[in-house]
Symmetry: C2
Subunit: 186 residues, 2 copies
DNA sequence: ATCACCATGTAAAAGGTTACATGATTTT
DNA sequence: AAAATCATGTAACCTTTTACATGGTGAT
């Protein structure tokens, strides 16, 4: 259901096309907390329109293909407000890398170490991406209105999530190296 | 596919029944990095048996219902080793709470603040749970062999994930309060 | 007695991914 | 000329969740 409410949220802040919403998930603010493919977005928009929570309008663009822009309806706004009042479900941890914890010893330690190094790079890049999203906010921290403050804290969460990963990778390699030294001594 | 490899991993470390594996996901080491219901576990075990990656043996217990204990086969071990050599897919962020970032202003600020406080409690408890799992390892940090080191680092990741959440909750409430003071002044 | 825990499964529904399908415009 | 971006959809498949189904043992 979160996909639905994220889309309603985007449309509550301003009318958008399916393509624009999909982009929010791929690179924009949506990428801070949720993922959805373009296919999912188009599919959900069709459903939401049928249920009267959003309406669409075809906009013709000069020298461009026309696009279908969606807006939230009063019914849709009621729906999202109702949802926001309910407690959120914490994300379930689903981390492939964890399998190493039980079965890592079945492969050479170099496989594990280089995988952790690869992940460090990945999360470092992600962290930088998230920091870019935060730029408009960190540059006026003293002047954030409540709407900006909400966006800022969500982006901050995404940044520290990635940062925590980077720090964990460094720590993990240290622990592995220390353990290897131990086994050499004995 | 991760469910499959997590189960193979558990069985690679020792033979277990479906119930025991389900418990690992619910409260044990599995809960550090993956979630799976008992239904999923039983279903996957049936599939893995059909594919010859695990074998089962019915164990009768004194004064208890008999249980079906599974062990990994040579084929299964080959499968998991092959999988461990491949790069891991980082988890996709799916965090309901993020919707607040776009639509939080549609409800009263007290709704948001009390939700963040509720989440702080939740993650604090989770952190304590994960710390309990780490106890056998932190008590002999100097003596960890590589198998222990792998388990320890995965648990450490789970701990710092929860810790990061707790710190974020505190920071988020501060940012919100600061923003509210701003709007009162102007 | 009631609750927690042990123990194992099936089936339907919901949610998400991947593949298929198409085609124009803008930038390099 | 090729690649990236704009623009929208359908269908099949895979994964996950929820509901259904059952019943014994041990502790309070």
């Amino acid at each position: 259901m979160t996909l639905k409410y994220t889309i309603l949220g985007f449309l509550a802040s301003q009318p958008r096309s399916g393509y624009e919403i999909a982009k929010e998930f791929a690179q924009g603010f949506g990428s801070c907390f949720w993922t959805a493919s373009a296919q999912q977005v188009y599919c959900e928009l069709t459903k939401l329109k049928q249920q009267g929570e959003i309406i669409d309008e075809v906009i013709s663009q000069a020298g461009r293909i026309e696009k279908r822009v969606y807006s939230i309806t009063a019914k849709g706004e009621k729906e999202i407000i109702n949802w926001l009042m309910k407690p959120t479900e914490p994300a379930k941890i689903r981390e492939e890398l964890g399998v190493m914890g039980i079965a890592g010893h079945l492969v050479d330690v170099s496989v594990i170490v280089s995988e952790i190094e690869r992940r460090r790079e990945f999360h470092f890049k992600k962290m930088r991406q998230m920091e870019k999203l935060d730029e408009p906010f960190v540059n006026k921290l003293e002047l954030l209105d409540i709407k900006d403050a909400y966006m800022h804290i969500i982006i901050r969460r995404a940044i520290s999530y990635q940062k925590e990963w980077v720090m964990w990778c460094d720590e993990a390699i240290q622990v592995i190296n220390f353990s290897l030294q131990n086994s050499n001594i004995s």
